[in-house]
Symmetry: C2
Subunit: 517 residues, 2 copies
Amino acid sequence: MFAAESMVRTLINQGVELCFTNPGTSEMHMVAALDRVEGMKSVLCLFEGVATGAADGYGRMAQKPACTLLHLGPGLANGLANLHNARRAFSPVLNIVGDHARAHRPLDAPLTSDIEALAAPMSRWVGTVGEPSEVSAMAVQAVRAAYGPERGVASLILPADCAWSDDEPDVLPRETMPGLMPVDEAVIAAAATALGEARNPVIYVGGNACLEDGLEAAGRLSQHLNCRLIMETFAPRIARGAGRIAPQRLSYLGEQAMEELKDCDVLLVAGSRPPVSFFAYPGKPSELAPKDARVVHLGGPADDLAPALAALADAMGAPAAPDLAPRSHAPAIDKPDEPLNPGYVGLSLLRHMPEESILCDDATTSGFGVYPWLENGPRHDWLFLTGGAIGMGMPLAAGAALACPGRQVFALCGDGAAAYTLQALWTQARERQNIINVVFANHSYLVLNFELARVGAGNPGPAAQAMLSLDNPRMDWVALSEGFGVPAVRAATVGAFDAALQDALKAGGPHTIVAEI
Amino acid sequence: MFAAESMVRTLINQGVELCFTNPGTSEMHMVAALDRVEGMKSVLCLFEGVATGAADGYGRMAQKPACTLLHLGPGLANGLANLHNARRAFSPVLNIVGDHARAHRPLDAPLTSDIEALAAPMSRWVGTVGEPSEVSAMAVQAVRAAYGPERGVASLILPADCAWSDDEPDVLPRETMPGLMPVDEAVIAAAATALGEARNPVIYVGGNACLEDGLEAAGRLSQHLNCRLIMETFAPRIARGAGRIAPQRLSYLGEQAMEELKDCDVLLVAGSRPPVSFFAYPGKPSELAPKDARVVHLGGPADDLAPALAALADAMGAPAAPDLAPRSHAPAIDKPDEPLNPGYVGLSLLRHMPEESILCDDATTSGFGVYPWLENGPRHDWLFLTGGAIGMGMPLAAGAALACPGRQVFALCGDGAAAYTLQALWTQARERQNIINVVFANHSYLVLNFELARVGAGNPGPAAQAMLSLDNPRMDWVALSEGFGVPAVRAATVGAFDAALQDALKAGGPHTIVAEI
């Protein structure tokens, strides 16, 4: 048994059972270990951004970490953008990054780089194995860091000679991992007092407060106080559909968000932080809550907010169960030849989406059009682009499907975003996943057309227009998807999309529908 | 005029005339500036790794920097792997990375990250604009850093409010940029003495010593001394073809390289460092020159080695011109139905490749089969994968084509490597570049099959084999290429490849030939 094998066995003992891999020579003993040891499935990815995005999707749904296996600094670098999203989602992810053998490192061979420095900005924990005898203990430490209590990205750097050593370090047994922390009773009592004194409070939820139990408690509270329940714009995961509480989603545009919050005198923050605008704009404020509003923190990503919100609702005398909206009626398609738009995609999803679907939203502008339709539709989890690094949708879907094999997954992707990490389609095909990718083909970085105007940079001339347009040439998403092994169709009308969606659901496996909008 | 406009005008004054862009909201004033100002062409890329790889290709061929325009930390992160290659190529590249407005940064909005920390490992210079009044001066500083004297990657971080400010900072005039440094006469004299005393010296060249003049001087020297002339395995750029000196390429495999160097008593190093193996292997040394060989450094990447080598050749009494091999005879294809292999691709290139072609080699295993064929063929520049971060070929080709619009460019890519940055095809199509992409479809990470055995990790079982295979499903590279707008054909025989190459050359514009090997 070599050291990498001890490490893999130790990780399995901690409940880590999946590894998204893109290995190279320096990780060959990890490959061999994954081959020899039962209990950890390897999923090959063609690009590291797929591996890290998939690990994020798995972490958000499984609430426990999967591994990635990445090749030195450049391999990690390719995965950093989706690790940024994972970090912002407080998603548990464990990167295993191979490095050169310790004696080889100072020779500065071509693939040498400062891996710790690259990992640090996107990781809450970084460690480098110093001796083969440490591999198991450091693996446990890394898993612990991914669990939290604030969940996140842990990056373990493994020199090749520490992986190949036959020193036979111990395999460590299962250890108890940290969980979310209970919120102190005094904090809950203070929140109750503040809300009791408020004229116009807002309950502002995010993070783990957007899971089912947290929303139910927050709904009880807001209904009892007759106040608004607002969620952060890009929550990691929100439980939705008929029978669940649906918070209002804070607008992306700062001026609208300020309008939505303007009369608030007490902002109760649960699982997030007071809202700030996504970007800054000349002459506009970045902080969105009224300056004189009192901010009351119930807890952040490390805190277990569902029981805290329930205790708070109890303390304020809220009824035991909230009122819930009835299930949306799914309208028929009466004008099938109408041109497609994101709203109609939402309508078709409302009509056909299975219960307990998972939707991964990487459709910067189009997602906003789909989202409202499903509020009281089939129960589902909606996963947002937490860190703004586009190229998350298809990888996230691949990971979510591995976390929840029985559930239908959708990736909603803008065409600009999909072009970042389209290699995820290959992993979807290889693993025969029940994923329907909807590529919204507007042939532009549409959001940037708005943003160019909003930042006051003047009317775009031809060079600026060209930089925001994907029209020359148009990408053929049917060809691209099929090139990676995922069948695809194009839909330009309401009826064509509705039919394509039904066909894809009936056939099972991965599909791409190119929504021409 | 806003500050970004001053910066762009200043950059143009320094000779920077090209920007590979993938902007977002925080870079909209750079987009507007590029739109308003004449003299800097914007080239849109669908993924930042394409932008940085293209900037590397441009830098290697133009010997001056192009800009990239990248969106915050994640945008930079996506470009880091190809910046790693650029860094190892000593290629001048200037990244302009947008950041949030200064007041917005401490609010930790979703896209916030530590950009300086991300940039540092791959950059020789990192700077963040602190005040709008600094933009022009810092732009000059960044260009200066990219020029060297050791050329490399400079990363300039530009907060959005420093770009949009209308403080109107000065536009700075052209400044003299650093060039390569002359090698000290004493160093040349010492090298002459050492070589004079050597029984079995080796002239070991790399970096700028592999350009035409350096090789000619090194050839004079090695012919006069009747000693070996060996080049580093992955040089940034080597001038090749009939009428030029062809150094022996040091083997990739350490044991072969050690055999090649074994009798050497004096190693004269020009433009590189003493060779080390690419990876470490259990029980094998990483340093490849004999332990008792005397290493004599003529100069490194910052030094102007062609004149130094010429002076050294003169000092040792070498004739003024080296002997040169005659032009290779390009054999006919007598068995057109033979299955294709990389050697036959080399043969077809020898038959049809135009003079002054540029070849970008990202074909890990197949490139070795093509390379020898062209040694005395048409004159060309061959660009290697300097940093080992695959996914360089198609982007590098796009940049090289922009640096040298009159020259035919080839990207030689393994299918595993091509899958990293295939979005470069779209830029090739958009810019109507004369690039022929050869994708070697062996449907595996072939090199890793060798490496798994070489590291002694045992015989691969099914899980390990699956991790090194790209066979399930097979990528359809014709579909993928056409999906991004580049026409493509498949060739599985010697004759089919030869015909496809002729067709592509005749048609002009970008093409992909899928070489089934």
